[in-house]
C-alpha cells in the first residue's frame, strides 16, 4: 500500500520505525507491504513513487531536522496539499499537531485527501472535534475510509472496543479519564499532597505536559476525545461547542483531602449521557475507572453486557503509531475484499 505521511513528529517517526522493524512480519502475517511514497514535515517533503528508504528519512530527520534535505528525493518548501494532490497513493496518514481553533492545517489535508479518493488515517483530534460529521459524509461520498483509532486512548483500542467488541449491544453512556497529563497531576496531588502548580511543574519536567499546558489542564484535549466518541460510538452529531468543559486548575488539596475521607478521589472525568461534559469529579477509589499516573480508563455502560472498563496508556509515540498501524491494516483488509469481489 502506498502511503503519504503528513507530519513527521514523534508519532510519524514512530510509525516509520515500526515499518522498518516489522517489515517481514507485516508482509507474512498480514499481507501488508507499506510503501511510504512521501513524507511531509514543516520544511518540505521527500517523495519517491516506489517508496522511500525509511532508515534514511529517520536519520535525515534526526540529523538535519527535515526530510526535505534528502539529496535526490527532497523537495524543500513543498506543501502537504501539493503532495496530497499530486502524489499517487492509496492512503494518507495525517499526524500534524492538533489545533482546536479551526482544525488547520489538518482539516484541509483530510478534506483534500478524501476528495482525491485517498483513504485517511489520522491522529489529529482538531479536525475531528470540529467537523467529524462533515468528514464522515465526505468520506462516504468518495468511497474512502476515514480512520482515527489513535485519537482516543493512544495505543489503547478504546474506539474499537466500543464499536466492534460491543457490536449489537447498545451503549447507554460513557465516562472516562481521557487525558494522561491531568491524571498524572491529580494522582500526584492526591498521593504526595503537593499543590497543582508543583505537580504541573513535575509533569512538565518529565515531558508529560507541554510548556503551554492549556489543552490538557483546561480539559480541551479530553473534550475533543469525548466529541469523537459521541459521534463515532453513539451516533450523536455533536462538535466541540456542545461540550461543557471545566479543567483542573481549581482543584484544591483541601477538596482532595475531603474526598479521601470518603475513600474517594477527584479525577477529570469526561462523560456522555444526554449531555457531554468534562469536569473534575469525585469517584470512589474502588471504581475500576480510578487509575493512577498517566493511565487512561474508559467505562462503557451497555444495555445487555453491563459495564466494561478498558485501561491503558493514553499517549506516546509508539503507542499512537500502533493505533495507526491497526487502522492501516484494517483498510488493507477492506480494500482486498473490495478488489477481489
Amino acid at each position: 500500500m502506498r502511503i503519504i505521511l503528513i507530519g513527521y513528529g514523534v508519532v510519524g517517526q514512530s510509525l516509520t520505525q515500526i515499518f522498518t522493524q516489522r517489515r517481514a512480519e507485516l508482509i507474512k502475517n498480514y499481507g501488508f507491504h507499506p510503501r511510504v511514497v512521501a513524507i511531509v514535515d514543516r520544511r518540505g517533503a521527500a517523495v519517491n513513487p516506489k517508496g522511500l528508504n525509511l532508515e534514511k528519512t529517520l536519520s535525515l530527520k534526526a540529523e538535519r531536522n527535515t526530510v526535505a534535505a534528502h539529496h535526490e528525493r527532497g523537495h524543500p518548501g513543498m506543501s502537504a496539499l501539493n503532495v496530497i494532490e499530486n502524489v499517487d497513493a492509496e492512503t494518507i496518514v495525517e499526524a500534524t499537531p492538533t489545533n482546536i481553533k479551526d482544525g488547520e492545517p489538518g482539516l484541509s489535508h483530510i478534506k483534500t485527501a478524501l476528495k482525491t479518493g485517498k483513504h485517511v488515517v489520522t491522529t489529529n483530534k482538531g479536525p475531528l472535534a470540529l467537523a467529524l460529521p462533515v468528514l464522515t459524509e465526505l468520506a462516504n461520498y468518495n468511497k474512502a475510509y476515514l480512520k482515527f483509532s489513535g485519537t482516543v486512548g493512544g495505543g489503547t483500542p478504546v474506539l474499537d472496543l466500543a464499536k466492534r467488541c460491543l457490536m449489537g449491544d447498545r451503549i447507554l453512556s460513557i465516562r472516562g479519564i481521557l487525558n494522561g497529563t491531568t491524571n498524572y497531576i491529580l494522582t500526584e496531588m492526591d498521593g504526595r499532597h503537593i499543590t497543582f502548580e508543583e505537580a504541573l511543574n513535575n509533569a512538565q519536567k518529565l515531558g508529560y505536559a507541554e510548556a503551554n499546558p492549556s489543552m490538557d489542564v483546561d480539559g480541551l484535549d479530553a473534550a475533543c476525545k469525548l466529541v469523537i466518541m459521541a459521534n463515532w460510538i453513539m451516533n450523536k452529531r455533536v462538535t466541540l461547542k456542545d461540550v461543557s468543559i471545566q479543567g483542573i486548575r481549581n482543584v484544591t488539596l483541601q477538596a482532595l483531602k475531603e474526598a479521601a475521607k470518603r475513600d474517594c478521589t477527584i479525577k477529570l472525568i469526561g462523560s456522555i449521557n444526554e449531555k457531554l461534559k468534562v469536569a473534575p469529579t469525585e469517584i470512589s477509589k474502588q471504581d475500576p475507572l480510578c487509575v493512577g499516573g498517566v493511565l487512561n480508563a474508559v467505562t462503557f455502560v451497555s444495555e445487555f453486557a453491563g459495564e466494561e472498563t478498558i485501561v491503558g496508556r493514553g499517549a506516546g509515540g509508539m503507542e499512537t503509531a500502533s493505533a495507526i498501524l491497526r487502522d492501516l491494516l484494517d483498510i488493507k483488509q477492506n480494500l482486498a475484499t473490495r478488489l477481489m469481489s
Binding site: M1, G31, F32, H33, V37, K50, K332, L335, L339, M340
Partner: protein
C-alpha cells in the same frame, strides 16, 4: 481501368507546395487511366492545435484560443495561396475557408461560455481540420483542370454509432451509402475528394473515427467501391524490417499479409492501425503504403495471402519501450483453479492494461508486462488484493524492460525458427526474461532489459538477413 482510393496524410499535405505536389501526383495517374477517390488528412499538426484550442476554450482562456485561431487561419490561407494559382478558384477557396473559420470561432466561443467540452463538441471542433485541408486540395486539383467534387465523410455516406471520439461505422449501412453516393461520380470521370477521419451518426451529428482515422476512411470507401487498391501516401517508403534508427541497414518490406501487418502494427511499428486494415481485409482490397516524396518507389503492398519463400521466414522486428515487468509468485497458486483469471480480472477492473503474459506449467509464478507509467499503482493494487490471501508470497517488479517482437507468417510450420532466434540472442550474451508465442505462430515476442533491446533487434536482423 483501375480503381484506386488514395489517402494523403498530414505531412503529405503539410503546406501549399506539398499540396501542389500531391495534386500533380493525382493528375499524373489520371492520365494513366485510373479511377480515383482521394481522402485527405488535416494539415500537419492542425489536429493537435484544435485539441489544444478546445481544451483552452474549456478552461476559458479566451486570449489563447484567439491566438490559436489566428495561427490556424494564417496557416490555411497561406497553404491555399501557395497551392492554387488561378485567382478565381483561389478566391472561392479563401472565401469558403473564412466561412468555415467563422463557424469554428463560434463553436469555440460557445465552449468558452459553457466551460464544458463534451466528446460530441470535441469531435465537432476536430472536424474542422479535415474540412479545411480537403477544401484546399479540392481547389488545387481544380486548378490543374481536374473534374473534382468535395465531400465530407458524412456526405460521402459514412454512418457511425454515437461513440464520439472513437466512432465505429455501421458497416453495412456505410458500404451501401458510400457506393450509392460516390460510385456514380467515378463512372462520370469525376474525382471525389473526401475528408478523412470525420463521419456522422445516423442523426447527422459529426463523429470522428479515432485512431487510424483517415486510413480508416480510405479503406471503408475502398471496400464500398470494391476498389483494386488502396494507396496510403505518407512520408516513408513503406513498412520497414525494423526501426532505421536502430538498424541502419533496415529495408522496406515489399510485400506482406494483412495478418503480418496487424501484428507489426500492434507491436508499435510505424504502420497502419489494425482497425483501419479491417475493411480492406474483409473485401480483400490490397493496401499499398507509398512515399509522397518518393513516388518512384512502389512501397509496401499488404495483401490477403502472400507466397512464403523459404528464406524469408521473418518479415520484421519491432521493439516496444517504456514497459515494466511484474512477477507474482507463491506456492499457493499451484493447482488452484482460477488464480490467473482472478488476477487479470482484478487488474482489468482497475484499468491496468496487460500487454503480455506468461505462466510456467508449475503455476508457481505468473509474469506479465505493462506500461511503465502504471507500474507503481499496479504493484500496490496487487499487493493489497493478494498478499495475505495465502495465494501469493510476493510481488516483484522490474522497470527497465522492453518487448522485442518478431513477425512473419513464414515462421508457421518452419521448425527451428525459435532455436535460430534465441541462439542469435544468446550469442550476443543477452538475457531473455520472458517469452510468448501465440499458437498462430505469426509472432514471437520476448522480454529483455531495455538496454539490451536494440542489440537484440540487430542480432535478429543479422540472423535472418533482413
Amino acid at each position: 481501368m483501375k480503381r484506386v482510393v488514395m489517402k494523403f496524410g498530414g505531412t503529405s499535405v503539410g503546406n501549399g507546395e506539398h499540396i501542389r505536389h500531391v495534386a500533380s501526383l493525382i493528375s499524373n495517374h489520371l492520365n494513366k487511366d485510373y479511377q480515383m477517390v482521394v481522402v485527405i488528412s488535416a494539415l500537419k499538426r492542425v489536429t493537435d492545435k484544435l485539441i489544444e484550442a478546445s481544451k483552452e476554450a474549456k478552461s476559458g482562456n479566451r486570449d489563447h484560443v484567439h491566438k490559436l485561431l489566428q495561427k490556424t487561419t494564417k496557416k490555411h490561407v497561406a497553404a491555399a495561396r501557395n497551392a492554387i494559382k488561378n485567382k478565381q478558384i483561389r478566391d472561392e477557396v479563401e472565401q469558403t475557408l473564412k466561412t468555415i473559420l467563422d463557424e469554428l470561432e463560434k463553436v469555440l466561443t460557445g465552449i468558452i461560455y459553457l466551460g464544458e467540452l463534451t466528446p460530441k463538441s470535441k469531435d465537432y471542433v476536430l472536424s474542422f481540420g479535415e474540412r479545411m485541408s480537403t477544401l484546399i486540395v479540392w481547389g488545387a486539383l481544380r486548378d490543374l483542370g481536374l473534374n473534382v467534387q468535395y465531400f465530407t465523410g458524412k456526405d460521402a455516406g459514412i454512418v457511425t454509432d454515437s461513440n464520439f471520439g472513437e466512432a465505429r461505422p455501421l458497416i453495412k449501412v456505410t458500404l451501401h451509402e458510400v457506393k450509392q453516393k460516390v460510385e456514380p461520380l467515378l463512372e462520370k470521370g469525376i474525382i471525389p475528394v473526401v475528408t478523412g477521419y470525420i463521419a456522422a451518426n445516423q442523426d447527422g451529428e459529426i463523429t470522428t473515427l479515432g485512431r487510424g482515422g483517415s486510413d480508416y476512411t480510405a479503406t471503408i470507401i475502398a471496400a464500398a467501391l470494391e476498389a483494386d487498391e488502396v494507396w496510403i501516401w505518407t512520408d516513408v517508403d513503406g513498412l520497414m524490417t525494423s526501426d532505421p534508427k536502430i538498424v541502419p541497414s533496415t529495408k522496406v518490406i515489399s510485400e506482406l499479409s494483412f495478418q503480418e501487418a496487424i501484428e507489426l502494427a500492434i507491436f508499435g511499428a510505424k504502420a497502419m492501425h489494425p482497425k483501419a486494415l479491417e475493411p480492406a481485409m474483409e473485401k480483400e482490397v490490397p493496401v499499398r503504403i507509398r512515399n509522397t516524396f518518393n513516388p518512384q518507389s512502389l512501397g509496401t503492398l499488404i495483401v490477403k495471402e502472400q507466397k512464403i519463400k523459404a528464406k524469408d521466414v521473418v518479415k520484421g522486428t519491432t521493439i516496444i519501450k517504456n514497459l515494466a515487468l511484474i512477477n507474482i509468485s507463491g506456492a499457493g497458486m499451484v493447482g488452484t483453479p482460477g488464480t490467473a483469471a482472478k488476477v487479470f480480472d482484478m487488474l482489468g477492473k482497475n484499468n491496468i492494461n496487460v500487454l503480455m503474459i506468461s505462466q510456467s506449467a508449475s503455476e508457481a509464478n505468473i509474469s506479465f508486462i505493462l506500461h511503465r507509467d502504471g507500474l507503481e499503482r499496479a504493484v500496490s493494487t496487487l499487493e493489497i488484493a493478494l498478499l495475505g490471501s495465502g495465494l501469493i508470497r510476493e510481488v516483484t517488479a522490474e522497470d527497465d524492460v522492453c518487448v522485442v517482437a518478431v513477425v512473419g507468417a513464414g515462421m508457421k510450420g518452419t521448425p527451428g525458427v525459435a532455436a535460430r532466434l534465441f541462439g542469435a540472442i544468446a550469442r550476443k550474451g543477452l538475457n531473455v526474461r520472458m517469452i510468448a508465442q501465440g499458437s498462430s505462430e505469426l509472432n514471437i515476442s520476448f522480454v529483455v532489459k531495455e538496454t539490451d533491446g536494440e542489440k537484440a533487434v540487430r542480432a535478429i536482423h543479422e540472423e535472418f538477413k533482413l
